[in-house]
Amino acid sequence: MSDAAISRPAGEVVLAARNIAKSYNGVKALKGVNFDIHRGQVTTLFGENGAGKSTLMKILSGIVQPTSGEVILDGQPIVFSSSTDARNHGISIIHQELSLAPNLSVRDNIFMGREINGPTGVNYAEEERQVRELLAELEEDIDPLTPVEELRLGQQQIVEIARALSVDSRILIMDEPTSALSATEVEVLFNVIRDLTAKGVSIVYISHHLEEALQITDHAVVLRDGNMTAYAPRADIDLEWIVRNMVGENYDLGNPPTGYDFGPVMLSVRDLTVPDPAGGGYNVVDRMSLDVRAGEIVCIYGLMGAGRSELLETVAGKLSATSGEIVLEGKEISHLAIGERIARGLALVPEDRQRYGLVQTMSVGQNLSLASIREFARGVFTSLKLERALIQKSIRDVTVKTDGPDVPIGSLSGGNQQKVVIGKMLATDPKVILLDEPSRGIDIGAKAEVFRILAAHAAAGRAVVYTTSEVNECLSIAHRIIIMRRGRISAEFTSDITKEKIMAASGEAVAA
């Protein structure tokens, strides 16, 4: 088979997906996707968050198994039992989330799991020599013995890339390889990709930086909601084509509530500066100012790392700012603890509901009442009757579908779990409600319901701020759309803006 593979001309299909479908707990991540990877060419996958790009790549590299459909390698159907199996067939992947061991050196990370053994144990000298060669090829001046945790994020990404290159692969999958790289590093990476394709290696590339991807790709595949919506060679496409196919027609997520005037300014952020919580030495929020009025819905759009989450977490009291003011209803609140801010009427629905939103060991009801224990405490004890009433009201308010308040939180679907997190914070009767990616990982029906609830609360006089990384969600209920880029507001729009302009302002499609 190897002879045949090598003698084939560039452009031949080496790896293909046929009708691939994948469900996680009944949620369809992929719904019958077909696409081809050509020998010695770059195929780029485009799509919004949650479109199914990463799932598809995990299937092609053997990390997860498809629910149905076939993977075809060199014309033969094949089932990869594991990522090692796929690697043995010449397929390797560079993960979006770094999969390095921070305590180990660059050398040990690159050879993790496939150490070169000599007569006296691991042959470190040979490993080091190969690592130096690889890093020289990538034009990166990193000592192979440096622990990975001492490298900056971009360098770590280079190490991840070097590791994938160190295995001689025929097919290399790169999931967002440039998200932390500088412009020069991206240029070097592209040169390496060109070298590889010239040698006959096939590349699958995933990126949010559309412009950047267009420089390197030979074919474009667009995914939306688990379906492949478009497939074309580079010559036939442009930026506008990609955006159109990525975003699709508007599904109805509601409209900004109207028929009332905004009230006074409820939340006012002045010159807020927040250092990188991971200790990166730069500011994730950089002298940002924002006013939100009662009844107003503000959407904050931006790419990963734009500082949206950090802004909201700082306002809520999870992170602390180095300078700037946070004023709630005319009173400075920067010095208050999270609980006191909640008591004053500020609520945050965090982005990652599993890690920051829910207590998995508690029931649906206990989760719903967690932020408002003070409301039903009577002296030392809590009143079960008042708590019951509060929980029942919350379940009705946010329409949670549950078999009752006492079932474990894990028995609900993702959308209903998200409604519990939102309901928990709404139960505190907030004046300002902040939501970090409220639609993450929930299906379209639940999304629409979440936005309907938010619109109703804004109409009732609350100030609502939510973040999103999906353009459609900006153009739903928000009165005002703020684009964040590198910790600052890069643009501000009203609700009659177009998708293309939003994406351009976020840095996603610079020249559009």
Partner: protein, 350 residues
């Protein structure tokens, strides 16, 4: 992708009655059934086992572990661990002993003999202070609980040895003319035939049970142990919760130290060695999750009685004390195995 998988251990099968229902009941009430089984088996093996007087004597032995286990439970519920309870018990016992011997104030040339109530208050305050030290190191300075309490375990033991030079205070009875008698009340007296130590255990268990199930603090505790981040963002004062649970554990260790030295009418610096492990075992047998957020006082009490009744039973039928250790170990492993089966993937936090 989000991971909501494998969470549904109980849902669809609950409709199926019969054998699964019985297995589930046995699994859920395992500590209770284990205790019944122990009592039945030993009653057959020894006619003296199932008598009121023997049960009360065994219960007064359980009281020491039981009181420590209540403290350990609240710490484990918060997602922590407290290895220092055995040493705090010893240090508090020794301090109580020293106070009973009289405190000499050299510059004034007098020896103070504090009354028993003052000894109890001072000893409990010492336990609280040591517990608070644990809590502050863990909550504010973010030292891992295992390391903090290991350090305090060594320090408290060392101080107890230093104070006594390795010896034991034997005379704790006090003297009527000094007005400090009554220390043996805790260990020897009975209330309606029930040893005081058992009454103390029962009162502490009921109070803690109420605190856990009915107070705001109880809810904060379960939330902090279940998911610290989510609790924090919901306005729960997580740090205060942590300091409080270690302080409570310290106070309970001091009470256990008082009960033990009263029962033995002596206070030695090596008392309570490895008791922290017995307390952890009782909590685990009682179905609590070491990852935090799951567990009840009722379960922990059953766990303490399982351990106590098992080891006393083995003594009564004349089994070597070495075998007792083997049996206790086997019971612990079995209990954790059952926990894993019951909680499945839910026991593991994401």
């Amino acid at each position: 992708m989000t991971q909501t998988s494998a969470n549904r251990l109980t849902s669809p099968a609950s409709a199926v009655k019969g054998t699964t229902g019985i297995i589930k009941l046995l699994l859920k009430g395992r500590a209770f059934f284990a205790l019944i089984a122990i009592i039945v088996v030993f009653s057959f093996l020894s006619p003296n086992y199932l008598t009121v007087s023997n049960l009360l004597i065994m219960s007064s032995h359980v009281a020491i572990y039981g009181i420590l286990a209540i403290g350990m439970l609240v710490v484990i519920l918060s997602g922590g661990i407290d290895l220092s309870v055995g040493s705090i018990l010893a240090l508090c016992g020794v301090v109580a002993g020293a106070l009973m011997q009289g405190v000499e104030l050299k510059p004034l040339g007098v020896i103070l003999f504090p009354p028993v109530w003052a000894v109890v208050v001072l000893t409990c305050s010492l336990g609280a202070a040591l517990g608070a030290l644990n809590g502050i190191l863990i909550a504010w300075f973010r030292v891992p609980a295992f390391v903090t309490t290991l350090g305090v375990m060594y320090m408290a033991r060392g101080i107890a040895l230093l104070m006594t030079n390795g010896l034991t205070y034997n005379n704790l009875a006090g003297r009527p003319e000094l007005g400090n008698t009554g220390f043996d009340w805790l260990g020897f007296n009975r209330l309606f035939g029930v040893p005081i130590s058992v009454v103390v255990l029962a009162v502490l268990a009921v109070l803690t049970g109420l605190m856990l199930s009915r107070s705001s603090f109880g809810r904060w505790l379960y939330a902090s142990g279940g998911n610290e981040n989510a609790a924090d963002l919901s306005g729960v004062p997580v740090k205060r919760v942590k300091i409080t649970v270690y302080t409570l554990s310290g106070i309970l260790s001091a009470i256990a130290g008082l009960v033990l030295s009263s029962q033995l009418t002596s206070a030695g610096p090596t008392a309570g060695t490895t008791y922290e492990l017995t307390a952890i075992a009782a909590v685990v047998i009682g179905g609590a999750a070491l990852t935090g957020g799951r567990g009840t006082v009722r379960g922990t009490m059953l766990g303490a009685f399982v351990i106590g009744f098992l080891s006393d039973g083995l003594v009564i039928i004349g089994v070597s004390s070495y075998w007792q250790t083997v049996f206790t170990g086997a019971v612990i492993v079995l209990a954790v195995l059952m926990n894993t089966i019951q909680y499945g993937a839910r026991g593991v936090r994401p």
